[in-house]
């Protein structure tokens, strides 16, 4: 009897491992494929000739990306915007979510509705631009953070975490022991909310790292972040290709570079995030579901 159950344990172990391996392959192969494609002749990629190894090996794509003057400054700009933006956003999230998590906050319902409303209705591009313009933020890096500083969806997750996962008794106990409200917040609430803090940091970081549209609209070309620099390289190359259609040489040949640049810029832009992810991942699994259930 015992032996049989041991066997079935091992069998299920094997089956589970096989399933996980298949899932891993399904998830990892497309990523791997992009890496391979970034080293291959794009027309051979599209003709279905690449599978595990590059076909028609070339470094032209990476050459095109790294020989661009803007790439280093774009990278530094992105790092700056990501760090400042993430700190700003997380601070804003905490100072809005914590009060809203207090059951005795006057007008709590109305405030919640006020925040929720913005999730469903936005001003639209032009009106928002006009507001940013009139506040004199156009061209300044604060235009990237201030208009969308509080992500309401994230704020609700954090609020729920405060409500459900931090025992009210602990807060009470600290107050009975003589903590001020602020001290409670800094010494009790923040340390207890590390998992959700990590999740919010990652969310904001990824969002700021990938954001190019806000920068395109508000920065007016000053200090472009990495995705915008990448985008310009790509646009430049596809413009060359389409203009080449009418003059000297080949659309087909130049279009090849455009296609290649797409793969390379994906890799270059995603790499920093891929490197950082594993380090915050341990908090991630703990925090991700926390606060997701409304109590």
């Amino acid at each position: 009897m015992r032996k049989a159950s041991g066997m079935s344990d091992r069998t299920s172990q094997i089956i589970l491992t096989v399933i996980c391996a298949i899932v891993l392959l399904i998830v990892a192969y497309p990523l791997y494929y992009v890496v391979v494609a970034s080293f291959s002749d794009p027309y051979e990629v599209y003709a279905g000739k690449t599978f595990l190894l590059p076909s028609g090996f070339t470094l032209d794509g990476y050459k095109g990306v790294f020989l661009n003057d803007g790439i280093v400054s774009g990278f530094l700009n992105s790092v700056k915007y990501t760090i400042v933006g993430t700190i700003f956003s997380v601070v804003m999230l905490y100072i809005t979510a914590y009060p809203l998590a207090q059951k005795d906050l006057p007008g709590r319902k109305a405030l919640s509705v006020f925040f929720l409303f913005t999730m469903y209705f936005a001003g639209g591009l032009v009106p928002t631009y006009l507001v940013v313009k009139q506040t004199g933020l156009v061209g300044s890096m604060w235009s990237l953070f201030l208009p969308g500083g509080v992500g309401v969806g994230n704020m609700i997750i954090v609020r729920n975490y405060f409500q459900n996962s931090i025992p009210h008794d602990l807060v009470e106990a600290s107050e009975i022991d003589g903590c001020s409200k602020l001290r409670t917040f800094f010494s009790v609430v923040i340390p207890l909310s590390m998992p959700i803090l990590a999740v919010m940091v990652v969310f904001s970081m990824v969002a700021y790292w990938n954001d190019w549209f806000t920068a395109l609209i508000y920065l007016g070309g000053k200090g472009p972040p990495l995705p915008l620099v990448m985008r310009n390289i790509l646009i430049k190359s596809s413009a060359t290709a389409s203009q080449a259609a009418t003059i000297s040489g080949g659309y087909a040949e130049l279009n090849k570079l455009t296609e290649l640049l797409k793969f390379c810029s994906m890799i270059v832009a995603a790499l920093p995030m891929l490197v950082i992810y594993p380090f915050v991942q341990k908090y991630f699994e703990k925090g991700f579901m926390a606060g997701a259930v409304k109590g």
Binding site: E44, Y46, Y129, N232, A239
Partner: protein, 558 residues
């Protein structure tokens, strides 16, 4: 109760949004038919599009020289992408520059901004004193003036356009055809045909048998040694500009090229306008080609592939028949094996047996959306004098390609300017001639008339080659050379109708066309339902009326 209050608040908020969206439309209307003779302003601010490859207008010696001779200075605010969003933001926000250049406003926008006084009406300024060059051109070409005159009689922008026609290779000016007349050149692998002992097909039935033979013999594997089963007898895009399947529809008497007027429009030689997508020939055509698709002769990816994917397949030698702008570019190193596949006659035993009706695609329009002066400009005369210089052949040549001394190296004995060769460009600038051109090309009101190619500079070699093919090989298959004039002028009401229906109509037709090709042609009931749908939901009848009326006015004016 609570919910009620909430929804009331919501409604109020939304209403506020709508109201604020509407305000701010009051602009001082400058279009009272008089000339503003102020000459004080010499510093101008111009916003607009620029090629992503340009090195900027501040460094452009052609533009610098033109500014100097006009005695003005321009501050450029240029961008190469997301131009439309930024221009809209500026117009809505009332933060206008003195002029917009290279934006490409549609006639609909022009009428709107002309009407509300955002754009200056240039009619009073089109005098030989202010704009001698342009006036001379408009005198010789009344059709250009007609094309840029809006329905209210105003002209809200300076004309631009490129007339690349067979006149450039010696055809008489009034019988010249645009390089866009037949956008898709179909081509077939002659080496495979020879290998199988087959002739170049002349009818769709013959092509069908040829494609079948390509497939059955797996010619890509057999002849080029590719992987077994890699043969694609025929692959094209779907309703795409120069790489669609539309040329093959000629066997049913029409070729519904995607175009700048509205897709599927056809002007019959008696002057009536029709939509081919509602004709019986169209229905028969899709029913017929579905069989090809079902037999695997047409590529299953034709509906989804991009041009890059098409090129990829062709350059691997997988493909028997395809379409493109030139053979060499699509087929790469296999190009020598391909020849033009002429337009084919319809299937045997049907009314289309002798039909081979290639119809012509309209050329590119004359636009007045490339230079528009706004109500902000204090001294329009100074600015217009600057732009009048653009309307001389040698200047516009330099704005299009690059300065004399850089891109143009000298004149031949006929006085025609010669452009830099590849070798010279590489030796002198370390770039290809195309790249040299790209750094100088200016986006703006460039009017390149067909006669310039005979009098001032030569067309590029590849354009000449394509036009020669068009003239010698393709035009003989075109029996009826009427096409809907791309420069028809529409009234405000008509533009509203077009703006309202055109996108829906085109996408509904295209979607249904694809479904029938893939799944089989329509039954009687489906066909009736489809026509009904186009009429009731997509405004087909209204559109037809609009295009007919506009054409009737156009032909009456001629």
């Amino acid at each position: 109760m609570k919910q009620k209050i909430f929804s009331a608040a919501l409604a109020a908020a939304m209403l506020a949004g709508i109201l604020s969206g509407c305000s701010g439309g009051l602009v001082n209307n400058v279009n009272d038919g008089t000339v503003n003779d102020n000459l004080d302003q010499t510093e101008f601010n111009i916003m607009g599009g620029i090629s992503a490859l340009s090195s900027g207008y501040d460094n452009n010696e052609v533009i610098a020289a033109l500014q100097e001779s006009a005695g003005i200075h321009i501050t450029w605010e240029t961008m190469s992408d997301s131009l439309a969003e930024q221009v809209n933001i500026r117009i809505t926000g009332g933060q206008l520059p003195d002029a917009f250049m290279g934006v490409g406003f549609s006639n609909y926008d022009l009428a709107r901004y002309g009407d509300d006084g955002t754009f200056l009406d240039l009619v009073p300024y089109l005098t030989p004193d202010i704009m001698p060059n342009l006036c001379a051109i408009l005198e010789d070409h009344p059709e250009i003036r007609a094309a840029i005159t809006m329905e209210d009689g105003g002209i809200y922008g300076l004309p631009s356009g490129e007339q690349m026609t067979t006149a450039g290779i010696g055809a008489p000016m009034d019988e010249a055809f645009s390089i866009f007349s037949v956008p898709q050149y179909s081509m077939i692998n002659k080496a495979w045909l020879d290998d199988l002992g087959l002739e170049v097909p002349t009818s769709l039935d013959e092509l069908h048998d040829v494609l079948k033979a390509f497939k059955d013999n797996d010619m890509s594997a057999k002849y080029y040694g590719n992987a077994p089963g890699s043969t694609l007898p025929m692959t094209t895009g779907f309703d795409e500009w120069c790489w669609g399947q539309n040329i093959f529809y000629a066997g049913f008497g029409f070729t519904n090229w995607p175009n700048d007027v509205i897709n599927d429009i056809h002007l019959k030689s008696d002057g009536t306008v029709e939509f081919v997508c509602a004709s019986d020939a169209y229905r028969d055509c899709l029913t017929y080609f579905h069989d090809w698709y079902a037999e695997g002769l047409m590529d299953v990816e034709m509906f989804s592939q991009s041009d890059s994917q098409l090129i990829a397949k062709c350059q691997q030698g997988y493909v028997g028949v395809s379409t493109w702008w030139y053979i060499e570019e699509l087929m790469g190193e296999y190009a020598e094996d391909y020849v033009f596949l002429p337009p084919l006659t319809g299937p045997k035993g049907t009314p289309y047996e002798d039909t081979c009706g290639v119809t012509i695609r309209p050329g590119s329009p004359i636009s007045s959306g490339q230079l528009n002066i706004t109500n902000k400009c204090q001294s329009p005369i100074n600015l217009l004098k600057f732009f009048d210089q653009w309307y001389s052949g040698e200047t516009v040549m330099q704005l299009q390609y690059g300065p004399i001394g850089v891109f143009f190296t000298g004149q031949d004995d006929k006085g025609m300017w010669l452009s830099i060769t590849e070798e010279e460009a590489q030796a002198k600038y370390g770039k290809s001639a195309g790249e040299v051109r790209n750094t100088y090309e200016t986006m703006g009101p460039k009017l390149i008339l067909a006669e310039y190619y005979n009098e001032i500079f030569y067309m590029e070699d590849r354009a000449i080659e394509r036009l020669t093919d068009l003239d010698q090989f393709w035009m003989p298959y075109v029996e009826d050379t009427t096409f809907y004039p791309v420069d028809c002028v529409f009234t405000g009401m008509e533009m509203e109708t077009i703006d309202w229906h055109k996108a829906d109509f085109e996408s509904a037709v295209k979607e249904q066309e694809g479904l029938w090709l893939r799944d089989g042609g329509p039954t009687d009931a489906e066909w009736e339902k489809y026509k009904e749908y186009l009429s009731t939901k997509c405004g087909m009848d209204d559109l037809l009326q609009v295009y007919q009326d506009a054409y009737d006015r156009y032909s009456a004016a001629e």
